[in-house]
């Protein structure tokens, strides 16, 4: 046990927790004012729902003793045996602290998906979806990658959760956008964000929290953590600028929303490689991420699906790019426990990264589809047209965000 590592990981865990309220603000500012509270609440509620799942059976299914490489067993249900001594995944910090750190990742992942069905989801449908998706999609995929499942066995690199969190939620968001259908007035009414100051504050909190997310994924206060911290900063800065410049060239104006979205795209893209790539590579990863995600968001309108807050374009596409970029730019010069990527003489890694990413996409797409079909059957996914027009704040929660 190392007190320095423990102190660092306590703080990193708290920083990752703060990302979910940060996401709530980021998303909340992007919807119309009549839906601000419902959007904020959907992220916030995940802090409650997933915390309970995690203790009762979630941590055990994700990280408990492996069953055929597919899922953990229930030996650690109720956190049995998960104590204050170092555990299987952490030699220098208490097992319970590792469990808490991982909990914060499990919380934010379903919260990310809420952006796709914002402004039209029934609150009970969102709740049931979150319980089922966390259980049937997040926990298995988390186990595959981090809990000793089949993916971790064949050498793919995912430093802080590009595949488990971003590709996974992005793929689910695409299915959800298609199944929920377009918001009323899509293509005719303006869906301008109602408070971009709030969105910018949310993006700033996410950026700050992401240092806990990426540097903390080293699980120790060491050089790899510092590398992850630094690559996170520069990739994000590069992506912010690249999105802004791309939209300036295409639309003629740089936007606040573009700067915020570009930063998030950079954070997403650097996540899998943060502890495996150097600072210059991180800048390149960020530069590509910003422009690529911007064009992915533009493509949404042409393809005709209404992913309200661009979960697919930013987390799906940014996450996929990050996974592949790790296969290009990873180097053992940064992290001896990592691998070399294509640009450092090892073309195989790129193939493994692609396979892991596409397997996750396929699994997430299929299971998310089944879950949403089920939720539609028992509760119904969408509010009525009239409720949608009035806004979810009033119709789902009897509250309004602003009384001026």
């Amino acid at each position: 046990m190392d007190t320095g590592d423990t102190a660092f990981m306590l703080i990193a865990t708290a920083m990752v927790m703060l990302m979910t309220p940060g996401l709530a603000l980021f998303y909340g500012g992007m919807v119309r004012s009549k839906n601000v509270l419902s959007t904020v609440l959907q992220s916030f509620v995940c802090l409650g729902v997933v915390s309970i799942i995690w203790v009762v059976y979630g941590y055990s299914l994700a990280f408990g003793p492996d069953v055929n490489g597919l899922i953990g067993n229930l030996d650690w249900a109720g956190l049995a045996g998960v104590g204050l001594e170092p555990g299987k995944y952490s030699a220098t910090i208490p097992h319970l602290l590792f469990c808490a750190f991982q909990l914060m990742f499990a919380v934010i992942t379903p919260a990310l998906i809420t952006g796709t069905f914002a402004e039209r989801v029934k609150f009970p449908a969102f709740l049931l979806f979150t319980v089922l998706w966390s259980t049937l999609v997040y926990l298995p995929v988390c186990h595959w990658v981090w809990g000793g499942g089949w993916v971790s066995g064949h050498g793919g690199l995912d430093f802080a959760g590009g595949t488990v969190i971003h590709i996974n939620s992005g793929a689910a968001a695409l299915v959800a956008a298609l199944m929920f259908g377009k918001r009323k007035g899509w293509g005719k009414e303006s869906f301008h964000p109602h408070n971009l100051t709030m969105t910018m504050l949310g993006a700033g909190i996410l950026w700050f929290g992401w240092f806990g997310f990426n540097a903390g994924s080293a699980l120790a206060a060491n050089g790899v953590a510092v590398n992850a911290f630094f690559t996170t900063q520069v990739a994000t800065g590069a992506a912010l600028l690249s999105w802004l410049i791309a939209e300036w060239l295409v639309q003629g104006k740089p936007t606040t929303l573009g700067a915020a979205s570009g930063a998030i795209a950079g954070l997403v893209a650097i996540t899998p490689g943060a502890g495996f790539v150097g600072p210059t590579s991180a800048i390149l990863i960020g530069l590509v991420a910003g422009a690529l995600c911007y064009f992915a968001v533009l493509a949404k309108s042409r393809l005709g699906y209404d992913d309200a807050l661009d979960v697919v374009g930013v987390h799906g596409v940014g996450g996929l790019w990050g996974a592949l970029a790790t296969g290009l730019f990873a180097t053992t010069a940064v992290n001896a426990a990592g691998k070399d990527g294509l640009f450092f003489g090892n073309p195989q890694l790129l193939g493994i990264q692609a396979m892991d990413a596409f397997t996750t996409i396929a699994y997430s797409v299929v299971v998310t589809f089944i879950i949403l079909k089920f939720v539609d059957l028992v509760i119904g996914l969408r509010v009525s047209k009239e409720e949608e027009e009035q806004g979810l704040d009033l119709t789902q929660h009897s509250e309004i965000g602003y009384s001026l």
Partner: protein, 112 residues
């Protein structure tokens, strides 16, 4: 007595108000309105998503004047509110039966 209703571009309001003041017009009522005429609505794009702007913001000025003043006022508004581009607005002239000042009860010309 006549009522002149002028619907103009919002950024022209100050110029029109000043010009009318110089002519001795003593009062006016304005409101922010939305509408369309030949200018029609138009499509806009934000972050790749298209939307239609049907009603464009305008300012409506309402003034009551003696019939003899109508031509001069209308000409002045036309001169100052004109940008030469589509969407400059319209002016309506309507008859007014009576004007009453609330405080004193004066009517007609005196009450304007």
């Amino acid at each position: 007595m006549k009522k002149i209703e002028a619907i103009i571009k919002p950024f022209k309001l100050d110029e029109v108000k000043d010009a009318l003041n110089e002519m001795g017009i003593k009062g006016m009522t304005i409101s922010e309105v939305k509408g369309y005429g030949r200018q029609k609505g138009h499509k806009e794009i934000y972050r790749g998503a298209e939307y239609i702007v049907d009603f464009i913001p305008k300012v409506k000025i309402e003034i009551i004047v003696e019939a003899a003043m109508v031509d001069a006022v209308v000409t002045k508004i036309r001169e100052t509110a004109n940008t030469g581009k589509i969407g400059d607005g319209k002016i309506f002239v309507l008859p007014v039966e009576e004007v009453i000042r609330v405080r004193t009860g004066e009517t007609g010309k005196e009450a304007i």
